[in-house]
């Protein structure tokens, strides 16, 4: 299968797909049309349950089971990365060299770490009111913690970030989501049904029944998952080294 032949197969396949996509695009209803049946029903259902951010209501109330699936994919991806990036026999852990970073960058990182953490928590907490939610806020919180790696070196980050705790947090986030679902079942209605808590007053933090709780659970899980992910990547990139002393591994 020479490279030239592959290029031809790619060209033919690409043109075919392009033609099909163009034909399909021409039959789609025009961009900006007024026919959105699902959208209108979703907005009505979200307002009925007094959740002001309809997207959060769709994610954590009307389609909460799909979000459980998304969250499990995230959990499985992190699990796979942790298994793949473990330290193998022929590798040794090297203490990261201390890195001297310029003073302004260190001060900026020190000031921005809590502010970014607060912004992330704000985005998680107001998931069901203004734009935001557990998924986005979790990533902001995780990135905030890694300002320490940027402001100083990996050793400082390791000191403040016990990976075991975040792995437990990751699992706890997923478990909290499931427990809230089963609580709905135990409460007499369906799994992950939003009939457990009162819907509260519109546009306040406690509105929307279980939506804020599911939001917080997803926020915790995404934050811990991203921290564990970056921990494994930083370990591999900065610390883990092929131990030259022992026999060479097959690849070299």
């Amino acid at each position: 299968m020479s490279r030239r032949l592959r290029m031809w197969v790619l060209a033919v396949g690409g043109l075919g797909v392009a033609a099909l996509l163009a034909a399909a695009a021409l039959r789609l209803p025009g961009f900006g049309g007024d026919d959105h049946p699902y959208g209108e029903r979703a907005v009505e259902a979200s307002l009925a349950r007094r959740t002001s951010n309809t997207i959060a209501s769709v994610n954590f109330d009307q389609r909460a089971f799909d979000t459980l699936g998304e969250e499990t994919i995230l959990f499985a991806a992190v699990l796979g990365t942790v298994v793949l990036l473990r330290q193998t026999r022929d590798e040794r852990q090297v203490r990261p060299a201390p890195e001297r970073v310029a003073a302004p960058v260190r001060r900026y990182a020190l000031v921005m770490l809590p502010v970014a953490l607060l912004t992330g928590l704000y985005v998680i907490a107001h998931g069901q009111l203004s734009p935001g939610g557990g998924f986005q806020g979790g990533v902001v919180v995780a990135t905030a913690l890694h300002l320490l790696y940027i402001g100083a070196d990996y050793r400082a980050l390791e000191r403040i970030r016990p990976v075991g705790l975040y792995e437990v947090g990751d699992a706890a986030g997923e478990a909290a989501y499931l427990i809230l679902g089963v609580a709905g079942l135990v409460g007499g209605s369906a799994f992950l049904a939003n009939t457990l808590l009162p819907y509260g007053t519109f546009n306040t933090l406690a509105s929307g029944g279980t939506v804020p709780l599911l939001n917080a659970a997803v926020g915790m899980e995404v934050a811990c998952a991203v921290v564990v992910l970056l921990a494994r990547f930083l370990d591999q990139a900065v610390e883990i080294e092929r131990s030259t002393g022992s026999g060479n591994d097959r690849g070299e």
């Binding site: 001297r100 970073v101 960058v105 921005m112 912004t119 734009p131 902001v140 990135t143």
Partner: protein, 153 residues
């Protein structure tokens, strides 16, 4: 399409358009500077769009970008240190332009929103953006490297 959306369109075309070209071609130093300027340009576009669509809740986007944008540029300054150190880019002109544009947009949007906590939020966003932009571009242009001999992180 009111004046705010027009300004956003012009800023997007004039400010962000060249960034896309500058980040795809040329030396690494210039690419990182272009990415840094792109963050500021998009943050300002977000503020203008929030005002143009009369949706104050969209300013959260500009706030998160003002917090995380410079962090991304510092990641490049840190992990691409080997490629940046031979010929560090000079960024003072672009940083000054970004700071000027930020103050202009923030003042205009604050004037439109009127006094109150929303105005303080806009000022905080603008301050975070300018501070982040200045620190990130100084870090990229090696402004700190010759001040202290640092090994690569």
């Amino acid at each position: 399409m009111n004046g705010w959306l027009w300004t956003a369109t012009v800023l997007l075309a004039v400010g962000f358009g060249p960034v896309v070209w500058a980040v795809a071609t040329g030396p690494v130093g210039r690419r990182v500077v272009a990415q840094n300027f792109g963050t500021s340009a998009v943050c300002l576009v977000m503020l203008l769009l929030a005002q143009g669509y009369q949706r104050p809740s969209y300013t959260d986007l500009a706030l998160v970008l003002a917090v995380l944008g410079p962090v991304g540029t510092l990641v490049y300054a840190r992990l691409l240190a080997d490629d940046l150190s031979p010929h560090p880019p000079h960024t003072n002109l672009l940083t000054a332009a970004a700071a000027l544009a930020t103050t202009a947009v923030v003042v205009a949007v604050c004037a439109a929103t009127g006094p109150g906590r929303a105005m303080v939020k806009l000022l905080v966003t603008g301050a975070l953006l300018v501070a982040g932009n200045v620190i990130a571009s100084r870090a990229v242009s090696g402004g700190y490297r010759n001040a202290e001999a640092t090994s690569h992180g």
